[in-house]
């Protein structure tokens, strides 16, 4: 099976180019794209990509495969049409080949203060939640920060610095939904400008590509609802 892979090495290349590789994929193979990349790396050890857990938990191997951002480790080769085109995540600075710079992505993540804030005296054991309160976090806390969504969001393409992007906003929603967190008002006030949240046009590219099947678009809608409630 033919793979066409985006290559760029700043040490040697003037600009990025696509390079083709052949990989033997048995007819009924359950090979994932990540395994295919490893086989390609056996052929050509200069190929660079990130990977770690190889089971969709670490979020290292997000890349654009046949036009959609996805995790290489969770994408079966058999689900794709040949030739398989693999490019780095969209609209992120390429460090080398499929490895991209996450600096801005993590800056956006830090903006939403992705940690529990509660200045009340801690109880002797834990801050307890009812099962219902805990259930409110489902669909929000599972994000692995792979950047598939933010890198595929048109609003992030046009305003990468001002719009926080679906991943960061999903995390904002996660702490807004947490009954143990007491910084709700400050969090909402920090997000009220016309860009941070409101650049979202509910295009839903984030939801389409999320490898964990989360719905950042709905989470962002939830943030807007909370703002309307608090603001009125």
């Amino acid at each position: 099976m033919r793979f066409s892979i985006y290559r760029y090495n700043p040490e040697t290349d003037a600009k990025p180019y696509m390079k083709d590789y052949e990989v033997d994929v048995p007819h009924d193979s359950d090979m994932m794209v990540l395994q295919a990349l490893m086989l390609i790396k056996d052929q050509d050890e200069t190929l660079s990509f990130r990977a770690s857990c190889r089971e969709g938990v670490c979020g290292s191997d997000g890349m654009n495969i046949n036009g959609l951002n996805r995790l290489a480790c969770l994408t079966p080769v058999s689900s794709l049409k040949a030739p398989i085109t693999i490019r780095p995540l969209v609209n992120m600075t390429v460090i080398r080949d499929l490895v991209v710079d996450f600096t801005l992505f993590f800056q956006q993540y830090e903006k939403v203060q992705p940690y529990l804030q509660n200045h009340a005296e801690p109880p002797a054991t834990e801050r307890l939640q009812s099962p219902e309160e805990r259930a409110a976090l489902d669909g929000l806390y599972e994000c692995i920060l792979c950047a598939c969504c933010t890198s595929f969001c048109p609003s992030s393409w046009w305003n990468p610095e001002k719009f926080i992007g679906p991943a960061g906003l999903l995390w904002a929603a996660r702490f807004l939904a947490d009954t143990r967190d007491t910084a709700t008002e400050e969090r909402l006030a920090n997000l009220q400008d016309p860009f941070s949240v409101y650049r979202c046009r509910t295009i839903m590219n984030c939801t389409v590509v999320c490898p964990k099947n989360l719905n950042p678009a709905a989470a962002i809608a939830g943030i807007r609802h909370k703002m309307v409630e608090k603001g009125s």
């Binding site: 305003n159 920090n190 009220q192 400008d193 860009f195």
Partner: protein, 119 residues
Amino acid sequence: MVNKLTTDMSLTGNGLRDWIVQRFSAVILGVYFFVLFGFFVFHPHPDYLILSEFFSVTWVRVFSLIALLSLFLHAWVGVWTVITDYVKPFPLRFLLEAFTILLLIIYFFWGIEILWRFV
């Protein structure tokens, strides 16, 4: 979280408020066009008399005025968003925004002139 200067040309300078204004004006415009649609369903090919009679009814005229105002607000929020998405050089962006607002003001008063000339 975002530099204030970059947001001052938005309608209210506040994302939540812009968003609410956009939704409210959308509902008003939606209902207005539904009323116009209804008129044309009943009078698919109106003559001058029927049309001018319809637009001389007070509530139609007041509703048209509210719709004009809604159009002004709705288009400002929408076009501002589009411009700030695609036009990055400051002078051009600023000029386009100012031009849009000027156009919307002209449309607004043009609309009033159309509606109120045959009192």
